[in-house]
Structure formats: structure tokens, C-alpha cells
Amino acid sequence: MSKEFQSSKPIYMQIVDSIVIDILQNKQKPAEKLPSVREMAVKMGVNPNTIQRAYGELERMNVVETRRGQGTFVLDNATLLDELKTSMQKEIIENYVEQMLEIGVSNKDMIEQLQNYLEGCE
């Protein structure tokens, strides 16, 4: 399936996020090879240049490394993955809080509602 993309964020960053999520969920295992740029482009329905850029960004973040003639590999770096997990959580929380404040929910109510919601889910 091709991926759907949000309109306000660069596509390459959304691909970076989705690969990081795959790694966090262990769908993409540490020390294993990522699909080639072409395979990933076909899989996601995205321009190969965009995938190349996403891989470059992941390399800059030290999540992957490119080995000449072999491809791009996920690095086995538990500390970094923990950091990424934390920063992703932070981003989600920020969005949640921002949207709740926008519709006039106080901090206290926010916590209470979240608590209620989670209890309801159990």
C-alpha cells in the first residue's frame, strides 16, 4: 500500500518518522538492511530522490549507516532509540496539549479526562 502523507510536513521527514516507528516496533530489526531506495520508493509510492533524502537524514541521526555497495543498515544503538522514543512521545503530548488548550480545556481537566479515558479503555 502507498502511504498517505500529511500536507504540512516534508514527505522525507514523514518517511524518517515511519522508519523510526518501524524500528521502535521491531518491525525493522537492528543490524538489518533497509529496503533499497528503489524498493522503498515503489513500496511507498514516493519519488526515489525523497527516499534518498530520508535515508540521508536517518544516517545523519545515526539511526542507520550506508555501507558502500551493500546498502543501508539499521545501527544497533539502544540509547539512541530510547532518545527517539522519548522525543516522539514529547511531540505527541505537545500536540495533544496544544489542541486541548485551543478548545479551552484546563490542564487539570486534561489530566482528569485522560485518566477517565484510560480507565474506560481497560
Partner: protein, 237 residues
């Protein structure tokens, strides 16, 4: 490979199809030519392949003026659908292969397989989606440095569109090719593009890197396009 349009003007009767258009395209990129119907997209593509010639200005490929012979080097998928009804899929492919020296039969067969076309089926009994697929096979199977696709998705259902996009991505060779897609279905092609060029009744009203639009302006191509068209129309009133 580069394609250049310099001060290109084309008139049909009194109407300008293109008005003093300057455009420079280079290999390694996928370009989207977007604009409403009648904005000059098809005319621009036809000029790049030597099927239509400018009334003013010039169109060059690698610095050489485009002539009728340029069609041999450029793979062009028309928005029209022109096949011999009594041919089978295979005969159609063989016919196109006989017309273009750079036609790659192996690639054509791979594409037929991948797009699940039946080579023995007659063109007249193909569904619209399958005709669209066959059109794509005949364009993508050519080892051309320039691929021009005019409305490649029009009239195709979402499943066929997705298969089409995938074949396109699988076979495009960006290290040596230029790919230009003309369409008014902007959302469909946005993830495919490096650059987008907006045409509006014969004028280029904008040209941007898709990721720059998102990164620096936080907008999708469609939003950007609607915006500049709106500005243009406000200005014209």
C-alpha cells in the same frame, strides 16, 4: 539531458496556449506540470517532443532545436487513446516496437506482466483501466532520456493508479532521465515530484521544490497552487 523553453509563445487562433514561457528542466528530476484544463500543459509537452512548434521563441533538447525527428528520442504518453482496435496487446507492443528504435521489448514484457495485462487480449475488449495500462507500457518501455506523460491517471480507478505509480517508480532511471507529468490531479502526484510548475492560461505562475514548499511554507502543492491561482485571479479583477 536538459530541456529548455525560451520565450516560447503558441497561439491557437486568437487564444494564447503559451505566452513567452521560459522553462529549464534537467535530468534526475521528476517534474509536475500542473494547471487547470486548457492552461497549456499539453501544448508544452507536445513542444518538447516535436509534435507542435512555437510561433515565437525556441524549444531545445540538450541545446539542439526540437524537430519532428525528436519524437524518436522522447517517450510521450498522450492524453488521447489511440490504438488499433483489432490488435492484441502483444501486437500493439510489437507495432510500437517497430516504430521506435529505442523500444525495449524485454522491459515491455516485464511491464505487461507486472500490470497484469493479457498479451493475447484484443485492444477492443480491454477495459478503460487496461487501455490506460497498455498506454503506459508503450511509453515506459522505451529507453528514452525524456519521458513525458500527459494525464497518465485520468479515468483510472485508484487501484490502477497505484499500480501505475509503482511501475513508474520501478522503471524510471533518474540518473539519466527527465520525467515530466502533466496533470490537474495534483494530490495524486505530489509524492512523486521533485519540482512543480504551475501553468495558468499560458503563463507560468509558479515553480517550486515540493519539499521546500512543505518545509519552509508548511503547505502542500495543492494548497500552494490554489493560493497562487487565487492571487492571480484577484490581481486580474
Amino acid at each position: 539531458m536538459t530541456i529548455a523553453l525560451r520565450q516560447v509563445t503558441k497561439k491557437y487562433g486568437r487564444e494564447f496556449a503559451l505566452k513567452e514561457v521560459d522553462l529549464h528542466l534537467e535530468k534526475g528530476k521528476i517534474y509536475g506540470l500542473v494547471g487547470p484544463n486548457g492552461s497549456g500543459k499539453s501544448t508544452a509537452l507536445k513542444m518538447m517532443t516535436g509534435l507542435v512548434f512555437p510561433d515565437g521563441g525556441d524549444v531545445t533538447l540538450n541545446g539542439i532545436n526540437v524537430t519532428r525527428k525528436t519524437t524518436a528520442d522522447v517517450a510521450y504518453l498522450t492524453e488521447l487513446d489511440m490504438f488499433y482496435e483489432s490488435f492484441t496487446v502483444q501486437e500493439t507492443v510489437d507495432f510500437v516496437a517497430s516504430q521506435f528504435a529505442n523500444f525495449n521489448k524485454n522491459k515491455a514484457n516485464e511491464l505487461i506482466n507486472q500490470l497484469k495485462l493479457d498479451p493475447k487480449k484484443k485492444v477492443k475488449s480491454l477495459s478503460k483501466g487496461n487501455r490506460g495500462r497498455l498506454k503506459l507500457v508503450t511509453a515506459l518501455a522505451r529507453d528514452a532520456e525524456v519521458i513525458l506523460l500527459d494525464e497518465p491517471f485520468s479515468g483510472l480507478d485508484p487501484m490502477v493508479r497505484e499500480a501505475t505509480v509503482k511501475s513508474l517508480l520501478q522503471y524510471v532511471q533518474l540518473d539519466k532521465q527527465i520525467l515530466v507529468i502533466a496533470t490537474h490531479e495534483i494530490n495524486e502526484i505530489e509524492p512523486l515530484l521533485d519540482q512543480v510548475i504551475a501553468l495558468y492560461y499560458g503563463d507560468i505562475i509558479g515553480k517550486e521544490d515540493v519539499e521546500v514548499l512543505r518545509e519552509e511554507h508548511g503547505t502542500s502543492v495543492l494548497e500552494w497552487f490554489k493560493n497562487i491561482v487565487h492571487q492571480k485571479e484577484e490581481g486580474a479583477l
